[in-house]
């Protein structure tokens, strides 16, 4: 079983997901994890697919779609390690250069592992949301560091544990 990482980005229009998913299904490539979303006017797909596949086969199947894409063999799936508790970082403020860089550098410095992150720019407002894993013992220190970064960037930052309801 091969696992391939596929990225596709193109001007948004109806049918991009259908076209790509159909091409992959025809090759017997099973879609596993993916994110597919619209960023400004571009539709983006990042996905892992598994099957008895070669990179060249997938490239040949996607080429006719006329969308920029990349395919890469990422090897077999490694079990994901959970590095502590899950926290959510919310950042919002006036857009300026380097918000993501400054916040994520602080997260990295604290050993926080980002598992999911999204940003939105609407007018002058910049919003960053990041889910991170972090040993609980390091949370208080990171919260203090983020408060310093918030003051430096002149943005609001909240850092809190995510609430997972186990049913």
């Amino acid at each position: 079983m091969t696992e391939l990482a596929v990225t596709v980005i193109g001007p948004d229009r109806p049918g991009i997901v259908a076209d790509v998913a159909e091409a992959l299904a025809a090759l017997g490539a099973n879609l596993t994890d993916s994110t597919m979303t619209r960023l400004r006017g571009h539709f983006t797909m990042t996905l892992i697919c598994a099957g008895e596949l070669r990179v060249e086969q997938v490239e040949a199947a996607l080429a006719p779609l006329g969308l920029p894409f990349a395919v890469r063999d990422v090897g077999a799936d490694e079990p994901v390690r959970q590095a502590g508790e899950t926290y959510l970082v919310s950042v919002h403020g006036a857009d300026r250069l380097g918000i993501v860089a400054a916040v994520t550098r602080e997260l990295a410095g604290a050993g926080a592992n980002i598992t999911d992150l999204s940003t939105r720019l609407t007018g002058p407002l910049y919003v960053l949301l990041a889910e991170v894993e972090l040993p609980a013992a390091d949370a208080a220190t990171l919260a203090e560091r983020l408060a310093v970064v918030a003051a430096e960037l002149d943005v609001g930052i909240t850092f809190r544990p995510t609430q997972a309801d186990l049913l």
């Binding site: 400004r40 919310s90 919002h92 007018g123 919003v127 949301l129 889910e131 943005v155």
Partner: protein, 179 residues
């Protein structure tokens, strides 16, 4: 359920311009107010006037019109998601005394016009506060949409936006698409 409060007693208000994030006033905890201060009563009237001319607006807090104060107005009358409704009222220096029955829901904000977000709020709360004008201290027990609206406005008075409470990395949604 009605409160010993009539917005008409505040006098005629003026429609004020609403401020939008990232305005600094929206991120700073508001100061406590004297609910009998004529300036506070006037501001409450202005908040009502501004809320009334804003389609779909069910609450407005002083920081949203540029005043860093613990004062807001709400009116969820007739809203389909409302259960208990106390009508149109203003509250100064409100505090949440009890919160339970936490539920997710999607909310927006006049000061963040392009985004909405999934936020967990208490479905039942007990809130204390003072009525502008009389200065009378009251306690309100409410639920469902009125509880959500109160929590949203009390957050504004503490310098918090719904963006500070969204539930995950993908829990913020664009309202309009700019292409």
């Amino acid at each position: 359920m009605s409160l010993p409060f009539d917005p008409a007693d505040l006098g005629e208000g003026t429609v004020l311009p609403v401020v939008y994030a990232p305005a600094p006033v929206l991120g700073v905890p508001g100061e406590a107010v004297d609910p009998t201060d004529p300036a506070v009563v006037r501001l409450a009237a202005d908040l009502f006037a501004t809320m009334r001319v804003s389609p779909g607006c069910v609450g407005l807090a002083a920081p949203q019109v540029g005043a860093g104060l613990r004062l807001f107005v709400v009116d969820v009358t007739g809203h389909p998601k409302a259960s208990t409704v106390h009508g149109a009222y203003a509250l100064a220096n409100a505090e949440i005394l009890e919160a339970s029955r936490w539920r997710p829901g999607r909310e927006g904000c006049m000061s963040v016009p392009d985004l909405t977000g999934d936020v967990k709020r208490a479905g039942r709360i007990v809130v204390s506060g003072e009525l502008p004008g009389s200065g009378r201290k009251i306690t309100i027990t409410t639920d469902a949409f009125e509880a959500r609206a109160l929590q949203h406005e009390i957050d504004h008075c503490a310098g918090r936006l719904f963006l500070d409470r969204v539930s995950g990395a993908h829990a913020v949604y664009q309202r309009k698409v700019y292409l």
